[in-house]
């Protein structure tokens, strides 16, 4: 599950996470996303993004955890309207991905969204989503895992 061993190329200096604190280790485009979550030591609930206080029980005893980098599609929608300011070009899918016993995270799925079905397994992968001011901004996106259909190349 852990994608750390998959590193195939050196990281360029100008890669920045689009949202600070999202990753537990420096993200590399194309690799599995190692997302930083939080777990409540008091009640065990897990969250993404991390919180200082537990949403469920209000405890401040939170610890960082690494979240699974795959899960199943709880639901999705295909967006056909361009959102002003967005780097995503319609059509694309917004997916809610349930990470095993962990939290549900929301992201986009761009390739193969027309084949997407509920409960499909998807991987969370680091991808460059925005180039601005000579920086590459990366985030995690969802990618379909081989099911009945072929895996998409990049």
């Amino acid at each position: 599950m852990n994608a750390a061993a998959e590193t195939t190329k050196g990281q360029s200096e100008d890669i920045r996470p689009l949202s600070a604190g999202q990753f537990i280790a420096a993200p590399t485009p194309g690799e599995r996303a190692r997302l930083r979550g939080a777990r409540c030591r008091a009640c065990g609930e897990t969250f993404f993004p991390p919180r200082r206080y537990c949403a469920a029980c209000t405890s401040g005893e939170m610890e960082d955890i690494e979240l699974p980098s795959s899960g199943s599609v709880e639901s999705f929608t295909i967006v056909h309207q361009q959102l002003p300011g967005s780097a995503m070009i319609p059509p694309y899918a917004i997916v809610n991905v349930r990470l095993g016993a962990g939290p549900v995270v929301q992201t986009v799925l761009r390739e193969g969204h027309e084949m997407l079905e509920l409960d499909d397994d998807v991987a969370l992968v680091v991808e460059t989503v925005l180039n601005e001011d000579s920086h590459s901004y990366v985030a995690f996106i969802a990618r379909r895992l081989a099911g009945g259909s072929k895996e998409e190349g990049k």
Partner: protein, 377 residues
């Protein structure tokens, strides 16, 4: 807590009015509400104002059009639930005896296009996630799989809403549409199509409330009483559900139970309902959350016509957000206005139960909380 009645209500027509200012819109709604109530402005002791996009101090600029009598004018914001929040603050201030008579006003002037719910530079926007109908669409797709509903059942909400809007001279859209029109309008966030999205709207709505013991000096006849209320934000449910904001229907059940307890009534008593249908699936999720139909049966109920004006659980008789329009700060007061018209038998061609409607239910969702109100006559 004292018994409190809604003495009057009034709207400025919802729609697009580029040549009118907020004070123009607000003044007309206030005039209509005061006329309807019989209360002169100088008897108003406090004003609570729901508005979201208007700048600092907008409430005073509107309310002071009627005179400068020295009353507090307090702006309340809870996104799309702002003016039911203003209504609740006003209600509590009268029910507890702080004031006898209060004015509630909601107004908004909106840009065209989808509401921008996050900053343009934010993660949510860059990633294309801050798409307003997406949360409804995500919930709708899961619902279809879990309960065997069809996309047409969601579309039917909009057909019904437009049919009701055509009967409402204050509605933004007053033209009926067919199910084909709805399903063939362009997809925004599948399965939600354009005609399943509430429009952006300019408009204003006002309500005058007073202690029931003081009502007789202003008005006689059937009056709507505030029988119950509840308000609360999304409580985290440790099942792992991470939905936030408007579509957090899990919240409705918890809140409506509090409102029923205060009112001493239950879902079986409801004659007419207003729900937060910012997008068509909202009506289905809401009637289930409110307990008007069992979970999983809302789509079928709409399909079978049960939420029509002549159905057994009429919902959004004035066209709802989808057709009456959704000027976010004004929506809550417009909901109250329609329920008052229904409970006093003044809803004209939209009247439910042959005028024999006595319990009205309102659900208005926002950010920071959802408001439930129960009105009775």
């Amino acid at each position: 807590m004292r018994d409190v009645v809604v003495l009057g209500a009034g709207l400025h027509r919802f729609g697009r009015f580029p040549d009118k200012s907020l004070p123009d819109l607000g003044r007309e709604a206030i005039e209509n509400a005061l006329d309807d109530s019989g209360v002169p402005f100088k008897d108003i002791e406090v004003a609570y104002v729901g508005r979201v996009l208007a700048g600092m101090g907008a409430g005073l600029s509107v309310v002071s059009e009627m005179g400068r009598t020295g009353i507090p004018v307090i702006n309340i914001e809870m996104a799309c639930g702002s003016s039911t929040s203003a209504f609740r603050e006003a209600y509590l201030s009268v029910a507890t005896g702080v004031y006898d008579t209060a004015l509630v006003v909601g107004f908004e002037k909106m840009q065209r296009g989808l509401i921008q719910i996050a900053d343009q530079k934010s993660y949510q926007t860059v990633m294309g996630l801050a798409v307003m109908p997406a949360s409804y669409a995500l919930q709708a797709r899961r619902y279809m799989a879990d309960h065997g509903a069809t996309a047409e059942m969601f579309g039917q909400v909009s057909v019904k809403s437009h049919r009701n809007g055509a009967l409402n001279p204050y509605a933004q859209y007053q033209t009926a549409v067919t199910l084909d029109d709805v399903m063939n309008s362009r997809s925004i966030a599948d399965p939600v199509t354009l005609l399943q999205c509430s429009p952006t709207t300019d408009g204003a709505a006002a309500v005058v409330i007073c202690a029931a013991s003081k009502a007789a000096q202003y008005k006689s006849g059937r009056l709507a009483h505030v029988a119950g209320w509840a308000t609360g934000s999304g409580k985290y449910e440790p099942t792992g559900d991470s939905a936030e904001g408007e579509a957090d229907t899990g919240e409705i059940g918890r809140l409506v139970a509090m409102a029923w307890e205060r009112a001493g009534l239950g879902p079986e008593d409801v004659d007419v309902t207003q729900v937060h249908d910012a997008f068509a699936p909202g009506e289905i999720f809401s009637i289930e959350g409110l307990g008007l139909v069992p979970v999983g049966e809302g789509a079928q109920a709409v399909w079978d016509g049960r939420t029509e004006i002549d159905g057994d659980i009429p919902v959004n008789t004035d066209g709802g957000l989808l057709s009456r329009g959704h000027p976010i700060g004004a929506t809550g007061c417009a909901m109250v206005t329609e329920i008052v018209r229904q409970l006093t038998g003044e809803a004209g061609p939209r009247q439910v139960k042959g005028g024999d409607a006595h319990v009205g239910l309102i659900q208005n969702a926002g950010i920071g909380g959802m408001n439930i109100l129960v009105l009775t006559s």
